[in-house]
């Protein structure tokens, strides 16, 4: 018996029983399979495209696009290139995504906390909101806001008029656009000065609190500084801001800033929908902190407000952040439903019109997918960094 055992250890087991050899073989096979599959796909595509006479390459990006886009954040007109349509679409996607993430987070946190309120009515309202919104398909909700709500607004001639500078009609929301005039630099300087002053006062207040324990009414003072200093600068500079107020000319409004109904519908639907999920995530995060933590804080004399802020929320963040990241990623990807109502996002513009006109499917699809992948990975990276910062240390 003993001899056998020694033999096995000295000469090793048979290679097909050795887990290390096995795993090496399996991994080699798997890699070979992946490469073979990739090669077949590329080979097949190239030969198909060659037989249909489709040219490959990114040369099409420099050709003239020749179509208009209803909303663009970067300068654009129909004489510009297909490459430019990519950037227009990307900017529109990023705009609606950023607006959506901010609104969904704020709304989601409020509703999540409301869901746990001891006030029966508030808790039940939050519950109804969550159960209704998260159980209806997002596409339906986008249609609802676009066709059922925003399209039924009055026509431009009967616009709802809010203080004769803001107009709402079925073609969008028209806002006055600020036009900086001479002396506006002074106002900007005032804003910058105010921000620096607030940072300085905050540092001083913190230092004083560490030294003497006295607390400083930071929020009130910061607000006062942020309002007063820029206002004084504005007055000294002599009202350096003009407004381009939209006005009805012919059948539609001209001038000012226009928020098109497609953007509004998509933004509202994305924010409300994602907020319902975030609310549940926030609720589960707060509930994940054990009752003993609240009791210990209360027993030390901390009032409920401070208990929530210093003890419960910091601990719930580590539970909230990973699923919150997924919701942000979902929101960005869901923004591609813009196509359905014609909001000119990356998918509608670049993978829609540009792809149809050029036929460069492989290149266009690859570029679009690469963009979503990059945005998603970037969000994940940032959120993971933040999560590591709030993680609880054990062992």
């Amino acid at each position: 018996m003993k001899k056998q055992a020694i033999n096995a250890r000295t000469y090793g087991v048979k290679p097909w029983y050795d887990p290390r050899v096995r795993s090496l073989v399996y991994q080699t096979l798997a890699i070979a399979l992946v490469f073979w599959g990739g090669w077949v796909l590329v080979e097949n595509t190239l030969s198909n495209m060659a037989s249909r006479g489709i040219s490959t390459g990114f040369g099409f990006l420099d050709e003239t696009a020749g179509f208009g886009i209803i909303m663009h954040l970067v300068p654009y007109d129909a004489t510009m290139s297909y490459g430019r349509t990519f950037w227009v679409g990307l900017a529109n996607t990023l705009l609606v995504s950023c607006m959506g993430v901010i609104a969904a987070t704020v709304l989601g946190f409020i509703i999540g906390v409301a869901r746990l309120s001891s006030n029966w009515l508030i808790a039940k309202l939050a519950l109804v909101y969550i159960e209704v919104i998260r159980n209806i398909p997002l596409l339906l909700q986008i249609f609802f806001w676009y066709f059922a709500v925003l399209s039924n607004l009055p026509s431009p001639r009967q616009s709802a008029d809010l203080g004769s500078a803001l107009f709402i009609n079925n073609r969008g929301l028209y806002l006055p656009q600020p036009v900086p005039q001479e002396g506006f630099g002074l106002f900007i300087a005032g804003v910058v000065l105010a921000v620096f002053a607030v940072v300085w006062v905050a540092k001083w207040a913190r230092k004083r609190q560490l030294a003497t324990g006295e607390r400083f009414p930071m929020v009130k003072v910061a607000l006062a500084i942020l309002v007063t200093v820029p206002f004084v600068a504005y007055v000294i500079a002599g009202d350096p801001l003009g407004w381009d107020v939209p006005a009805l000319k012919g059948f539609n409004f001209k001038g000012g800033i226009t928020v098109i109904p497609e953007l509004a519908a998509l933004w509202i639907a994305l924010s409300l929908y994602t907020a319902s999920f975030i609310a549940e995530i926030v609720r589960s995060g707060i509930l994940s902190v054990s009752k003993g933590q609240t009791e210990a804080a209360n027993a030390l004399g901390l009032p409920n407000r401070l208990t929530l802020r210093l003890v419960v929320i910091p601990q719930s963040l580590r539970v909230i952040i990973p699923p919150l990241t997924s919701q942000y990623l979902n929101l960005v990807k869901n923004s591609s439903l813009a196509t359905a109502i014609g909001y000119p996002d990356l998918v509608a513009v670049f993978m829609g019109t540009t792809l149809n006109q050029t036929g460069q499917a492989v290149e266009v699809v690859a570029m679009t997918m690469a963009v979503y992948l990059t945005i998603s990975l970037l969000i994940s990276l940032l959120m993971n960094l933040y999560n590591r910062a709030v993680a609880i240390k054990e062992r």
Partner: protein, 266 residues
């Protein structure tokens, strides 16, 4: 520190000029509590003098924990009155907060804040509730951490400590508020046997400093050494109260006799 009635070192020498009878610090009269239809506490009456050490024991489910949790209003009583250090516990939040500032509590499961270091755990309430400068709060915290013999762990997180160490931090954290009364809710029940002694040692030392203590525990050795009175509870009532020698050697009530038999059998 010297003038504080609460520090471990304060009043460490009994006798001398101290008055013969100390004033009452807790008065509990006719307290009842229900959980729904379940009558947890039935007509409890108890007066505790300053500096007294009281051990509360009894079978599980007898309402011991609920009772001491009423003293700092972690549980609400529905009938009767509880007056702590001349402040009555009512629905008034300010009164509850000021009682909680004077009453420290140690829990069975420690309940340290896992996202803060040991030192931060000890400083949180002094800084935010008592508005003591952080430097001063830290030096007080270090003093108490030395008393409970873990100053070297000050910058670790609770998750990195053993159960006994965590419970000693919890005691230090409560003491940092310089309370007049300390409540212990089964402080050794969640500990491994070899760690119970280190926590009891700290509690015995604290008792020697003149702190008023109410302790729910099954550690009968601790009760014999430290307690001025043992209170036996069963089914939500105070069945018997007596000095420890009397209670352990000659319990009067049959329920207390049965309980003592059961726990002393092994």
């Amino acid at each position: 520190m010297l003038n504080e009635a609460s520090g471990i070192d304060a009043q460490s020498s009994p006798g001398g000029q101290q008055p013969a009878v100390k004033p009452d610090i807790i008065r509990i009269e006719g307290v009842h509590k229900w959980y729904g239809g379940f009558h947890v506490l039935k007509n409890l009456n108890l007066t505790v003098r300053q500096g007294e050490k009281i051990v509360i024991c009894g079978p599980s489910g007898s309402g011991k924990s609920t009772f001491i949790r009423c003293i700092n209003r972690l549980e609400e009583h529905q009938h009767g009155s509880i007056i702590v250090d001349d402040i009555e516990l009512t629905d008034d939040v300010r009164q509850i907060d000021s009682v909680r500032r004077d009453v420290g509590m140690v829990f069975q499961h420690f309940n340290l804040f896992p996202h803060l270091t040991v030192l931060e755990n000890c400083c949180l309430a002094p800084v935010w509730v008592k508005k003591i400068p952080r430097k001063e709060a830290e030096s007080t915290a270090m003093e108490y951490l030395e008393r409970v013999r873990i100053p070297d762990q000050a910058n670790k997180y609770p998750g990195q400590l053993s159960g006994g160490q965590q419970q000693r931090v919890a005691i230090a954290r409560a003491l940092c508020m310089k309370p007049k009364i300390m409540l212990f809710d089964e402080p050794t029940s969640a500990l491994d046997p070899e760690m119970i002694a280190e926590v009891l040692d700290v509690m015995i030392e604290l008792a020697g400093s003149g702190m008023t203590m109410l302790c729910v525990t099954h550690e009968m050795g601790f009760a014999k050494t430290v307690a001025d009175r043992v209170i036996f509870m069963d089914a939500g009532e105070i069945v018997e109260q007596a000095p420890p020698q009397e209670f352990f050697s000659n319990p009067k009530e049959p329920r207390a006799q049965k309980f003592l038999q059961q726990i002393l059998q092994h």
